[in-house]
Structures are given as C-alpha cells and as structure tokens.
C-alpha cells in the first residue's frame, strides 16, 4: 500500500466511531491478558492499563479526546443500564440486606464523613488549590454522581471522573490488603466497604474476585453512598469553610 493510500484510509477510519470502539475493546482485552500473565496483581488493574494504553495511542496518533469519545461513547453509554442492573444482585440478597439495614446505614454515613474529612484535610494540608479540593471531595462516589457534585461545588466535572477512577483502582488494590491485616473475613462487610470506598471499581472487583454476595453489598454501598454523599457533602464542604 502506498503512503498516500494509507493516509486516506487513516483519514476515513479516524473519522468513524468504529476505530475507537475497537481500540477500547482491544486495549481492555490486552490489559486483561497482561493482568492474568502477572498473576492478577492489582497494580496492573486492567482498567488502568487499558486507559494508559489508549492515552498513549491517542497521543502518538495526535487524536483529541473528543474524537476518541465519539467512538467510545457506545461503551460509556452501557454504564447507565449496568447501574440499573445492580438491582438484580441486590434483590437476590434482599433478606440479608433487610436484616442489616440499620448497621449498613450508620456505617455508610460514618464512611462518608471519614472519607470527606481525610480527603479535604490531607489535600488542604498539602496546599491543593480550592478548585482541586472540591473536585477531589466526591472521589469515592460513582462517576456520574461525582461529576454532578463536583460541578455543583465549583470543581471540574471531567477531572472528577478521572480521580474517581484512580480512587477506584487504588481501592480495589488496597481493599484486600486492608481486610487481610484487620482479619475481616465477612463477605458482606468486605463488599460494603469496597462499594463505599471504591464505587463501581470495588463492585466489579467484588464480583470478579470475592463473591456474588460481596458484589451485591458493594452495589448497595455504591448506590447508598452516592445518594447520601449528594446530600451530605455540600454540608461537609461548608463545614471546612470552602
């Protein structure tokens, strides 16, 4: 193929959603294979590796994020129905959820306050600018809710989405270590903690590496934390005088 023909092909492909849809799937597949090869280490979390691979590809080919997202939005769209689908594992374990409703509610409020206090306290102490502080604040909430909260508080919604993901990957990596050190073996406690601290990432990790029971509680925690954070965080931020 001549260089000119290749150029034309590239111009055609890079304008169509097909290419970036495929790039996303291939990068994730490659990242999953890599992760398995290295014994499933959380430091090579498939999502993080896939994101790094795709960013490298986009930088090398001088592609903007907007062009990429035109293709990748078809995958992004499925986050909506997948969030709704969390009701199914939740329904499967409804009896257990009901019997633990009060402890779960209290733990959720406690976890949100601890998370906000630690995040705002540390970032303030280290001199983060105001805009970054309010973007960081909702980091342990699922990305659509976090983006809404960051926007409402005067932060940057798209950066909030990125920080949420990094938090999720960190949480999925540190969670099992924390549970081992504290000797926490109950799958309901593990799942709830993962969902509260690492939203959908923690939930995905529970389904793939702990159990469906842990996944159900993670999904519950993710939804509940999202709801309560949307209500509590603006108050907590005000308390910090931001």
């Amino acid at each position: 193929m001549t260089l000119h023909a290749f150029d034309q092909l590239w111009v055609y492909l890079s304008g169509a959603p097909l290419l970036y849809l495929l790039v996303t799937l291939l990068a994730f597949w490659l990242a999953t294979v890599l992760n398995k090869r290295f014994g499933g280490t959380p430091f090579l979390h498939p999502v993080l590796v896939a994101i790094v691979l795709i960013i490298c590809f986009l930088l090398i080919t001088h592609t903007t994020y907007a062009t990429y997202f035109d293709g990748a939005q078809f995958i992004h769209f499925l986050l909506g129905p997948a969030t709704v689908a969390l009701a199914v594992p939740l329904y499967d374990h409804l009896a257990r959820v009901r019997s633990m409703l009060i402890p779960l509610g209290l733990a959720c409020v406690g976890g949100i306050i601890i998370s906000a206090f630690m995040t705002l306290g540390l970032a303030t102490a280290m001199g983060a600018p105001h805009q970054l502080l309010v973007t960081l604040a909702p980091k342990s909430v699922t990305s659509p809710i976090a983006m809404g909260i960051a926007d409402q508080l005067g932060g940057i919604p798209s950066l909030a989405a990125g920080l949420v993901l990094i938090t999720g990957a960190i949480g999925a990596a540190t969670g099992p270590v924390v549970f081992r050190l504290l000797k926490i073996r109950d799958h309901t406690v593990q799942g709830f903690t993962m969902g509260l601290s690492a939203h959908g990432f923690g939930t995905a990790h529970c389904f793939s590496s702990i159990s469906a029971l842990a996944g159900a509680f993670a999904g519950l925690a993710m939804g509940l934390t999202g709801l309560l954070t949307a209500i509590l965080l603006p108050l907590l931020v005000k308390l910090f005088g931001l």
Binding site: T24, F28, A50, I51, I54, I55, Y65, F69, A72, I75, H76, L78, P81, A82, T83, V84, A85, A87, P89, Y91, M100, P103, L106, A107, G110, G111, I114, S115, M118, T119, A123, M126, K139, S140, I145, G148, S158, L159, A161, L163, L165, I166, I170, G171, T174, V178, L182, R185, D186, T188, V189, F192, T193, M194, S197, T203, S208, S211, L227, I231
Partner: protein, 124 residues
Amino acid sequence: MPLLVGMCVLLTCQLIGELIARGASLPIPGPVIGMMVLLVGLMLHGRTPDGVRLTSEGLLRYLALLFVPAGVGVMTHFELIRANLWTLIITLIVSTVVTQALTALLLRRLNRHRLEDHEAESQP
C-alpha cells in the same frame, strides 16, 4: 428474545429514573434512581425474570470495561495533575486506605451479634 426483553426492562427503568431526576431536579443521577425503580419492580413481581437476569449478569461481568472511556478523559487535565501530583497521590492513597479500614471496623462492630454465622458462610 430474553436479551431483548432484559435490555428493554433496564432501559425503561433508566428512563423512568431520568424522568424522576429531571422532574424533581434531584442531584442524584437517573440510573441510580432507575436501580431503585427496578428493585421495587422485582420486589412487587416476586422473582427476577430470566431475560433481566441474563442481561444484568452480562453487563455486570464487564462492568470494569465500561469505565475505560471516561477514564481516558484524564488526558485533558495533564497540566493540573502534574502541578499537584504528590498532593493527589498521597491524598488518594491515604484517604482510601483509612476510609476502608475504619468503615470495615465500624460495620463489623455494628454488626457484631450477627457475625458468627456470616463468617461461617463466607469462608471459601
């Protein structure tokens, strides 16, 4: 057919969720309200229809993949991230670990009287 029915149910719940969120101008995203709509629906129906289960389990198995397109968005904020790199790294790691440890201990304490039977069941 089951997949078609399942997807229709999920999207209908999401649509109802969006309508409620917009209509009442709640700060909560539509899909989260949609999740509650589906949960109430399943409770009223008394069981999970096969199509809904099939579609839901398929989507949840690939949940991690669905976060990738949004995550690539960090590339638009390299400057701000670079300027605050250590603040971000330390804040994210320390606050996540402390939140996990304290939440897990809190829930275990609140739930202590029910712990033994869970632990027995949860053992791999």
